[in-house]
Structure formats: C-alpha cells, structure tokens
C-alpha cells in the first residue's frame, strides 16, 4: 500500500511537470500577453515605458529562459507575483482561494454523495414506484441543467425574491467571522452545485444497485432471514458502491468546471473565479500557479479513489 502510494505520487509529480510545460506553451500561443491586458487603450504609455515594464516582468527573455526561471522558483515554493496585482504573491493568492473552493466543492460533493446514494437506493428498491419515477424525473432534469442555469434560478428565487439567503459572497462584510454566517452563505451555492452531481450519482447508484440486488448472494442473504435493511445496506450497497466511487472520483474535474460558474454567479471567492480573472487578464504566474494546484488536487483525488477501492472491496489489492 505504502509503496504503491509513493509510486503514484512520483508519477503525479511527473504529471505536474508535464502539465506546467503544457500550460506554459499554451499560454504563450494565446494572442495577447500581460502587457496587452494591462494597457488601457485611452492612456498613452510610451514605447520606452512599455519596454521597461516588459523587462521588469521578464517577458523580454527567450521562452525557455522564462520557463526555467519559473521552474527554479517553483521548486522552492515561490510561484511568483501576480502581474495584474504585483503586491500579491501567487502562492498567497492561490492558497487564499483553495479553502473557499474546497469548502464549496466539498460541501457540494458531500451533499451529492449522501443525497445521490440515498435516492439511488430508494429508486432501486422501490423500482417502478411513484417514488422511483419522481426521482428519475428529477435526475434527468438535474443532469440536463447547466450549473449556471440552476444557479441563476436559485439565486433569484431564494435570494432576490424571497430574501431567504444571501445573494453572494462568503461572509457578511463588516461583521466578525462566525461559522453560522459562513454556513448561511454556503448553503445555496453548494446545494445548487450539488444538483447535477446528485442526479448523476443517483442514476449510477440506482443502476448499480439493481444489478447487485439480482445477484445470488443477495438472494442467499434473504434466504437466511437477514433483515431487509441489512441486506440492502451491508450486502448490496457495499458492492454497488464500486462504480459510484469511480464516478465520484472522475467528476471532481467536472465539479471544478461547474464551480467556475457557481463562483461567478454567487461571487464566491474561490479558485474558479481566480482562474477566469487571470485568464482574462493574461496573468501568467497566477494561471500557472492555479493550474498546478488544481492539477495536484485532481491527482491526489484519483489516488484516494484507488485507495478507497481497497477499503470497500478487500479483494482489490493495490501495489
């Protein structure tokens, strides 16, 4: 187990290195550079001023020199400074955003896992009942709704119209921090982000559970007189979870995409907003730093997914 994890981590480090090269090259191929983003068309900056700026930012160096300079600093934990906001170290910016995004996505995924698995089981056990049909309609609607549509509808209904929830932000400005305030702001975006995930997990869980419920060992358990609740939760659920774990692991990436929209609509100060803003502003160091952090998170989640297999099914050994 340990040796397997170490090997996966080394592979992950290699992947991060490859990712950084890829992103670096793609950034330089994109039209417009940080100077082009910095310039306001109405304000004159002489060519010498621009050359000075370019030199200060290191953009006048050959590309390999720029990349190696970045890599050298990155290996010591220094991801550089935001070009748009030069008083903000990239590492500080990114770290201040990881928490909010992890909180948002973590809450959404937790909601989705609990709700998706529960409703998936209900749908399977009560196959073709009204409950099953209702949940199926919800699932199709949820899968079909883009996150930003759910977000906008939810925002205007619950915040602007009924005034039950804050319209955005992570905390109420001007107040002392409190967990209650944070949760109050978190409920709406997390729930809406969870909608599509819940629907997806529900469908997978239902299909997987149906397959498992028809297996011989389930029939044997029932024949032994095991209480139906335990038949479902102890014998059937554990096996039915395997494909759902894979699904959950692979949808982390999708959740990041959805988080960008949710963060934009709800003004949630997470990684998604940081990335979008950095791309619009061609803030190279922030894009590089953010991408590395997101890439690292995805790699770690995939490793954890593999390890989770071994926990759920002892027959699967890793290493």
């Amino acid at each position: 187990m340990l040796r397997y994890s170490l090997r996966r981590l080394l592979i992950g480090a290699g992947m991060l290195l490859a990712l950084s090269v890829l992103i670096f090259v793609m950034l330089r191929l994109t039209p417009g550079d940080p100077i082009d983003a910095y310039i306001d068309p109405n304000i004159p900056m002489s060519s010498s001023d621009l050359a000075e700026l370019r030199a200060t930012l290191g953009l006048d160096q050959p590309l390999p020199v720029q990349y190696l300079a970045w890599l050298r600093e990155a290996l010591t934990g220094n991801l550089g400074y935001s070009i748009k906001r030069p008083d903000q170290p990239v590492l500080g910016l990114v770290l201040s955003r990881v928490g909010p995004t992890v909180l948002l996505m973590g809450s959404a995924i937790a909601i989705a896992i609990i709700a998706g698995i529960a409703t998936g089981i209900i749908g399977a056990v009560r196959r073709n009942s009204i409950a099953d049909l209702s949940l199926s309609v919800f699932a199709v609607t949820g899968i079909s709704s883009p996150p930003f549509l759910s977000a906008l509808v939810g925002l205007y209904l619950l915040s602007v119209y009924f005034n039950w929830m804050p319209s955005g932000g992570m905390l109420t400005p001007g107040r002392e921090f409190s967990v209650a305030d944070l949760l109050h702001h978190l409920i709406l975006p997390a729930a809406l982000l969870a909608v599509a995930q819940t629907a997806l997990i529900m469908r997978y869980m239902r299909a997987s559970m149906l397959e498992v419920l028809n297996q011989d060992y389930v029939r044997t358990a029932r024949a032994k007189g095991v209480f139906e609740f335990w038949v479902i939760t102890k014998h059937a659920l554990r096996n039915a979870l395997l494909p759902v774990i894979t699904l959950i692991g692979s949808t982390i990436g999708l959740a990041i995409g959805g988080a960008i929209f949710i963060e934009s609509v709800f003004n949630w100060p997470g990684m998604g907003l940081l990335m979008v803003d950095a791309v619009e502003g061609r803030d190279y160091p922030v894009i590089m730093g953010s991408t590395l952090v997101i890439g690292a998170c995805v790699i770690v989640v995939n490793i954890l997914t593999d390890l989770a297999y071994a926990v759920v099914d002892p027959r699967i050994k890793v290493g």
């Binding site: 994109t30 039209p31 417009g32 550079d33 940080p34 082009d36 983003a37 310039i39 306001d40 068309p41 109405n42 304000i43 004159p44 900056m45 002489s46 060519s47 010498s48 001023d49 621009l50 000075e52 700026l53 200060t56 748009k84 906001r85 030069p86 008083d87 903000q88 910016l93 955003r97 205007y156 915040s159 602007v160 005034n163 039950w164 929830m165 804050p166 319209s167 955005g168 932000g169 992570m170 905390l171 109420t172 400005p173 001007g174 209650a180 305030d181 949760l183 109050h184 409920i187 963060e263 934009s264 609509v265 003004n267 100060p269 907003l273 940081l274 979008v276 619009e280 502003g281 061609r282």
Partner: protein, 528 residues
C-alpha cells in the same frame, strides 16, 4: 442507543440550520455602514490598491487617498483638494500650489515634501506608474516650503491639471525607503496604506471586500458613516442581485439592466456622461478608406438614431466628431443623417466596386457585451444595404490590443474597428487616439490616423496657453474631424449607478477611470 445518538445529531443540525436563518431577517447593513460595489463597471479596478498603477478604480481610491486637485462633482472644472489654491504663470510654465492643512492617517502632517516625492514617483516608469508619459512635460518639482509646491514645465501642457487629478498623494515617510522598482510589489498597499482622505484603510479580505473606517480627524469634518465597505463582485449582475436583495446600497448598473430600478421607490437611478465616444475606426493602413467619400458613405449608411433608440433605450447621444459637449462643438457641422441612397451615390462616385466591391471587411472590437453584439449586427446590416460587406469579430481586450497595437500589424485583421475613446472631461484626452505622433508603438492611435491637418489642430489646442481661447481650438479639432472623418463618430453613451433610497448626500458620477472627483464621502449618510 446508536439510533438515539443519530437522532440527537439530526436535531442539533436542524437547530444550527435554524439559527443560521436568523441573520436573513435583520438588516444586512449595520448602522452607519455603507456597502457598495465601488469597483463594479468600466471605472473600477478590483484588487488594485496602488494609485500609481491605477488605470481605473479611483471612485474607491479617492475615499482614502486624495490628489492635489480633483474635478468638481459635475466634472466641469478642476478644483483644489489637498491644494487649497493654485496659480499658473502667464507663460503656462510654472504652477504654484498652496497646500491645505491636512494630516496623514497616522497623524503626521502632509507637506510639500510628500507632494514632491509623490510626483517624482509618478514620473518614474520603474515604479510601475501608468502616468509617467502624461507627466513628461514636468521638468522640475520643488517644495519651496512646507506648504508651497512649485511645478515647472519644459513646455506648456493644457492637460497637466487633468493628469494631476490622478496623482494620489503618498506619504514620503512611509515609502521613501523602498526602491522604486520594488514599490509595486510591496504589500503596504493592501495591508496598511496611509492616505489623507475622510476614511482610512481598515482591512482587506482577499477578493471579498475592503473595509474603511471613519477618519475622525479629517479636516473637512468627521464623517457621518462609521464604515464604508467595497464588496468585490465577479460581474455587474452579481452586484445587481446583491443590491436588489438589500445587501449593498450602491453599484454601477449597465443601461440595459435599469428596468428593475426605474419607477422603484426603494432605489435612485444616477445618470451621467460616460465621456467615451464610440466610433468606427477606419484602418488608414488599408487603401480602401483613402477616399473621403467612402468614409462619408459609411456615416450616411448607419442609422444612428435608430440604434440609439432601440438598443440604447435612448441613453446615448449621436456624435459628429469626437465631442458632444456644446462648448467644443462648433455650429454648422455636417450631421451625417441616415441616407442610404446618398451613401450608395457616394460609393458609386468613389468607384467602390473597383476599390473593394463585395470583399469582406473585418470589423474588430473588444466590446463583448450582448448590447455590443447587437450594435455590431445592426451596423453590419446597415452597411450591407449600401454594398459594404462587413464581418464583425469580437475578441477579449488582450487579444484586441495584441492585434491593433502591434507595430507591424496584419491590416486584414482589422480593416475596421468598433471602439471607444475618452473625450473628456479634458477634451485633450482624444489626442492619444488621433494624433499622428501616437501611432503604435508610440501610443494608441490604433486606426493609424495620418492626417497632418488634424495633428496640427490637436497640437495647437494642446499648446494653447490662453485658457479663454482653448475651447475655440478644440472646436477647430471638431470641425476637422467632422469634415475629414478620420474615423466614423457614432455616439456617446450614458452610464448609470443605482443607489438605495436610504443613502443620503451620496455623490457618484461615472467618471472615466472612476475619477477622482469631489464626492465628499464625509457627508454620506444612510438612513435606517
């Protein structure tokens, strides 16, 4: 027993959920605290705390920093702020400022040495200052005594006062130890900046909000509000949602979002000039625009009034040169009324079929809003009616800049642009977009306008030393533009802010870059 534990956990969770609902029923704004989206919209610059690097965001920066001089609240003239008075010599080469009795937020006195220090920082491109080029004419800055500052110019500059409105005074005692090229990277700006304004910096919660607290020693009187909060928003829509939900009391609003606020007693709509003239730029490096009759045809082909009424909801005014302000628009200029038949006739006279015929012309813009997309579609349809085949292309600002500011551009990528140029409050603002000496890489004359008669008129206006004659000089600029059509002027749109009705004595105007102008934040109050 396990079931009982689960039940009690569920009850605890429900109780927590119930308590979190509490805050929703109390007023989101605390007593004497104003929250707003002060950096929302084209005049904002979220996340920037350095006035030297600011290309916008002065609405917020000028609540805690102050310049020597600023525009009045109607943006009609430049008045003293940290300078209680100023004099200009008859040859327009010596500016003398008498400074007000002001204090920095840390209690130290504001002196002429601080002003000298600040202006020298602003002139130094190494600091990251975006004002260096605009202060080129300044040859020396001297602190004659603690309250007297003398600025000398190497040549008269009619735009100097406008440039000085954007130079926020910085404390020498706090910043002089930092090397110029390290200044921009210093965390002082976002952690403990020191200004002279009616409010002082309290805290910045990264990318969420900035909080200022009242400066009770302010020379203009103790502020009525205890706190002002600048909430950060990803886009105007998020700010509008917060305003409608009652969480903030002010934000910039796009003109097509005004419907929710007109005729609503809970809100006050504030209208102002954008000071940006939208135009169709003819790339002068492309031979197809050489004949003035072709340019005239473009003007006659476009129904500006229809676009203004249907797409802008009337919130724009047609322009026939770079200006619409009465004092700089002479009487008797051509109005270029919508007349597609005349446009066709002009094209025929110019032999358009030989010049270009039906070949597609790329119309490039950096405006990516739905409104701009509709404008581009309308312009495309109107030009097509008279035989000019235009292909709109909207890109983001960095891509646009990389194309149009390229010293050796691919002309085919932007034979035409739809863009905006600041035309006031200082009428000299247009110089950067039209003067031949401002063609990239020297400046942002992106249309590569090479008209000696226009350049001469601009130079004459900028060099005019008699203030009484300056308007007439700019009228000449307008006349030349109207006659020669270096580009096709379209309109100047209005911009809007919406404030809660609870907000009293609140002053806001959509100034270019957000200001600075005299908003008197110390007088703002909020009723419960």
């Amino acid at each position: 027993m396990k079931r009982l534990q689960r039940l009690s956990s569920a009850i605890a969770l429900a109780a927590m959920m119930a308590t979190t609902a509490g805050p929703a029923f109390t007023g989101p704004a605390q007593a004497a605290t104003l929250s707003g989206g002060f950096d929302v919209g084209p005049g904002g610059f979220q996340g920037n705390f350095n006035p030297l690097a600011a290309t916008g965001g002065f609405t917020w920066l000028s609540i805690y920093f102050e310049p020597l001089v600023a525009y009045d609240e109607k943006l009609e003239k430049v008045v003293g702020q940290l300078a209680s008075s100023y004099e200009v010599s008859s040859d327009q080469l010596t500016y003398t400022f008498k400074l007000a009795d002001a204090k920095w937020h840390d209690g130290k006195p504001f002196t002429a040495k601080d002003a000298k220090f600040t202006i020298e920082l602003a002139k130094n491109a190494k600091t990251g200052s975006v004002l260096a080029a605009r202060l080129n004419a300044v040859s020396s800055v001297e602190a004659e005594d603690d309250k007297t500052l003398v600025i000398k110019l190497s040549a008269p500059s009619a735009s100097l006062m406008d440039a000085l409105t954007k130079v926020m005074m910085l404390p020498e005692h706090a910043l002089s130890q930092i090397p110029a090229d390290q200044l921009a990277k210093n965390t002082w700006w976002s952690t403990s900046p020191i200004g002279t304004g009616p409010f002082k910096f309290s805290k910045y919660v990264t990318d969420q909000y900035v909080e200022l607290v009242a400066n009770t020693d302010y020379r203009g009187g103790k502020p009525a509000l205890e706190k002002i909060i600048n909430r950060y928003f990803a886009n105007p829509a998020a700010a509008i949602a917060a305003l409608r939900a009652g969480e903030i009391q002010f934000t910039y609003v796009d003109s097509n979002d005004l419907n929710a606020f007109n005729n609503n007693q809970d809100f006050r709509v504030i209208e102002g000039n954008s000071f940006v003239v939208n135009y169709l730029g003819f790339n002068h490096d492309s031979p197809i625009w050489k004949d003035v009759r072709v340019r005239q045809a473009v003007m006659h082909a476009i129904n500006r009034d229809a676009i203004i009424q249907s797409l802008y909801g009337g919130a724009a005014k047609a322009a026939n040169c770079a200006y619409i302000a009465d004092q700089v628009v002479p009487k008797g200029i051509e109005n270029y009324v919508y007349d597609p038949e005349k446009a066709k006739q002009l094209l025929k006279e110019a032999d358009w079929d030989e010049i270009n015929g039906n070949k597609p012309i790329t119309l490039l813009t950096y405006y990516t809003t739905p409104l701009a997309a509709n404008v581009m579609a309308a312009v495309q349809a109107m030009l097509a009616q008279v035989g000019i085949n235009v292909t709109p292309r909207a890109v983001d600002t960095p891509t646009y800049n990389s194309i149009v500011l390229n010293p050796t551009p691919d002309v085919a990528q932007f034979q035409m642009v739809y863009a905006g140029l600041q035309n006031g409050p200082d009428p000299g603002s247009i110089n950067v977009g039209l003067n031949e000496k401002q063609i990239p890489p020297a400046g942002p004359n992106v249309a590569r306008v090479r008209m000696p008669v226009l350049t001469a008129a601009l130079d004459a206006a900028l060099g005019e030393t008699d203030a009484a004659k300056r308007d007439a000089r700019y009228q000449e600029v307008c006349e030349v533009m109207n006659k020669e059509l270096p580009w096709g002027p379209l309109w100047v749109a209005k911009r809007y802010g919406v404030a809660s009705s609870k907000l009293k004595d609140f002053v806001w105007t959509p100034a270019p870059g957000g200001g600075p102008y005299q908003a008197h934040p110390e007088k703002w109050t909020i009723a419960d």
